[in-house]
């Protein structure tokens, strides 16, 4: 599989567009800063959230059983899926048993992870994503490029063109208000015709057996109050023990995600609508394997706020698709290779390890240190090209012997300045493609320090 660097290069090469993407996301980061600043106990909140998640994960089986009991008491039907295939089959069966052929969905990264849409569509079910950004990428037959802002890679002109083709808006129209209105009208028909609604889950509460869905467009509410059947899908790590824990997470989520104090709609579900059914599908799909790995366990604390993507200087300049996985950015660079180390071996290296992600993360996942640790796994598993591993071994040998290091350094400084430029700056020198090499001075620092010492001595 081609690595991150190869996919990032063309994105970064279109500098104008890369800068636009960078600015759009940086704007969200700044909004987040302003919101976080307004809460004096922000850092305390992060610490608490992190502790709650760590505790929950340490007793996840108990909490899941507690949740199942309480949810069942709430007349919610609980299903368990060990992987994506089982998850998709469960959802399909619920729909097929009831003869349902039209489904509306609100945003759910889990169903993206499981590739539910194509699965259902192949079985004759019309699936409509109702989050505006998700609908846009769905119409383009693309995956989302960001977990909170699925269409952030597109400009309004791109969307105008798409809507002209798909929804019959005026050619050349790119006014966001006009386009949003058009999407609204289009989605309304889909809502009215839907026979079932599917949502994700932001938080499930063990103590009550209820769950919370956050959106800004109210589409989850439309999708679950009109049709009779509501299916909610969640990875098992979405659990928190108590209702009052929501007071911590809901304050962090929207502020970190979009820089809003709270999402426009925060809906608590505690049972089916009158005369309807409510199903919840709890999915593992590799999560318990991650839970068993001490170094990477904390990545399951993620509340999918997207802040690490917005702040990541690499993500902003390489785009979500360069990661090749449903969840991109720093957290995706952990989750993807945790699932499939062979195909995503380049992702732990797709970071300058600047650490901004770890400082921004509302649940304090030590993202950049986990990426650093993951690199060692990749080398141990021989998933880093042999040439690179050999180069490092050679470098290590030279650096470990003071005489070899001094000799190599002296030779380099002596020879490189005398070499023809074309030879130094050939295609074999990635440093020099856009940058000059550092100066090659006559003396090393140790030489200068020695001289300084002898001069002082002479005085």
């Amino acid at each position: 599989m081609i690595g991150h660097a190869e996919k990032a290069a063309p994105f970064a090469a279109n500098e104008k567009r890369a800068h636009w993407h960078d600015q759009a996301l940086w704007f969200v980061r700044l909004k987040r800063d302003r919101q976080a600043e307004s809460i004096p106990e922000w850092e305390e909140l992060r610490q608490t959230a992190s502790a709650i998640k760590a505790h929950t994960l340490s007793r996840i089986a108990d909490y899941l059983e507690e949740f199942e009991r309480n949810a069942t008491n709430n007349r919610i039907q609980v299903h368990w899926a060990c992987d994506a295939a089982e998850h998709n089959a469960i959802v399909h069966k619920i729909l097929a048993d009831r003869g349902i052929t039209r489904l509306v969905k609100s945003k759910s990264m889990l169903t993206e992870e499981c590739h539910l849409n194509p699965y259902l569509e192949a079985r004759g079910i019309e699936v409509t994503d109702t989050d505006l950004g998700e609908r846009i990428v769905q119409l383009r037959h693309e995956p989302p490029s960001h977990i909170v802002l699925p269409a952030i890679h597109l400009k309004k002109e791109d969307i105008g063109e798409l809507f002209h083709k798909e929804l019959g808006t005026q050619a050349g129209a790119s006014d966001p208000k006009y386009l949003t209105e058009a999407a609204r009208g289009h989605l309304r028909q889909k809502f009215m015709a839907a026979q079932a609604g599917l949502t994700g889950v932001n938080f499930a509460v063990a103590e009550t057996g209820g769950f919370v869905v956050c959106t800004n467009e109210g589409n989850a509410d439309m999708g679950t109050s009109l049709p009779r059947v509501h299916i909610a899908c969640m990875g098992f790590e979405k659990l928190v023990p108590r209702s009052k824990d929501l007071a911590v997470f809901l304050r962090l989520l929207a502020r970190s995600a979009t820089g809003q104090p709270v999402t426009s709609y925060t809906t608590h579900f505690h049972g089916p609508v009158r005369g309807g059914e409510l199903h919840i599908v709890i999915v593992d799909n590799g999560r318990s394997t991650i839970l068993g790995q001490e170094t990477f366990r904390r990545s399951l604390s993620c509340i999918r706020c997207g802040a690490c993507m917005n702040t990541c200087p690499v993500f902003r300049r390489s785009g979500g698709y360069s990661y090749g996985y449903t969840i991109p950015g720093p957290i995706g660079s952990l989750l993807a290779p945790l699932r499939d180390p062979k195909n995503f071996a380049s992702l732990p290296f797709a970071s300058s390890l600047c650490g901004s992600c770890s400082d921004v993360c509302p649940v304090k996942i030590d993202l950049h240190h986990e990426l650093y640790a993951f690199r060692q796994d990749m080398v141990r598993g021989k998933r880093v090209p042999l040439a690179k591993r050999l180069a490092m071994a050679g470098m290590s040998y030279v650096l470990a012997q003071t005489w070899a290091y001094r000799l190599a350094g002296g030779l380099m400084r002596g020879i490189v300045p005398r070499m023809p430029r074309a030879l130094v700056y050939g295609p074999w020198n990635p440093w020099g493609r856009q940058r000059e090499l550092p100066p090659m001075p006559r003396h090393s620092a140790r030489g200068l320090i020695q001289r300084d010492l002898t001069q002082k001595g002479a005085k």
Binding site: A9, S352, C354, S356, V384, R435, E436, P439
Partner: protein
Amino acid sequence: MPRVGLFIPCYIDQFYPQVGLASWRLLRRLGIEVEFPEEQTCCGQPMANSGCAECTRPLAEKFLRIFGKYDYVVAPSGSCVSMVRNHYAQWLSGREGFDHLRANTFELCEYLVDVARVSKIDGDFPCKVGLHMSCHGLRELRLARSSELMVKPFNKVRFLLGQLRGIEIVELTRPDECCGFGGTFAVNEEAVSCLMGRDRLADHERAGAEIITGFDTSCLMHLEGLIRREKKPLRVMHVAEILEQARLS
């Protein structure tokens, strides 16, 4: 009088000797008994950064062997110090002298402020300076508050530089965005790395900087590479080179 071992990272030793010399002189002029152990080479960061744990081990061990005997170890590099403080445990945990080494290895500015308790800087530097807050010094050593954290602002480097007469530290629109060096990242992800670097330069230029300074020569080497290729009217200087001119007390 404590004995201080000066660690000069390999790339400074080879490419930016004046930074090593400035750090040396700066400490000596403070009256500190500083030594430069000749045997030193590299902290092992390039290997560690690439995930090559076994290639890093001999360098970590070498570092401990050479520097374990000093009361303090000082290096003009945030990332090398972070290597010792945050990553060496993997190879050296439990070894004799490691806990002492880890607790007493400092980045230069950090050493000046926290250990040598320098509070007054007497000197002139009438220039417009952009301060590049390299990530490892910033977020691994906490030389300053990072912009993500909602704690009281502080900046140890700015505290030192800001006292120079005539200096104007320009205000950047993104005070601590990564320059894209990132060790081997600079070549593995060359395209993104260079774009990040150029964006940093643009921010400094917009703010009117004449000189970009910082405490990590590796980042400055990357930025200088871009500056020289594009022939921009900017210069890079390590903080030690600026402070060396002044009287510290």
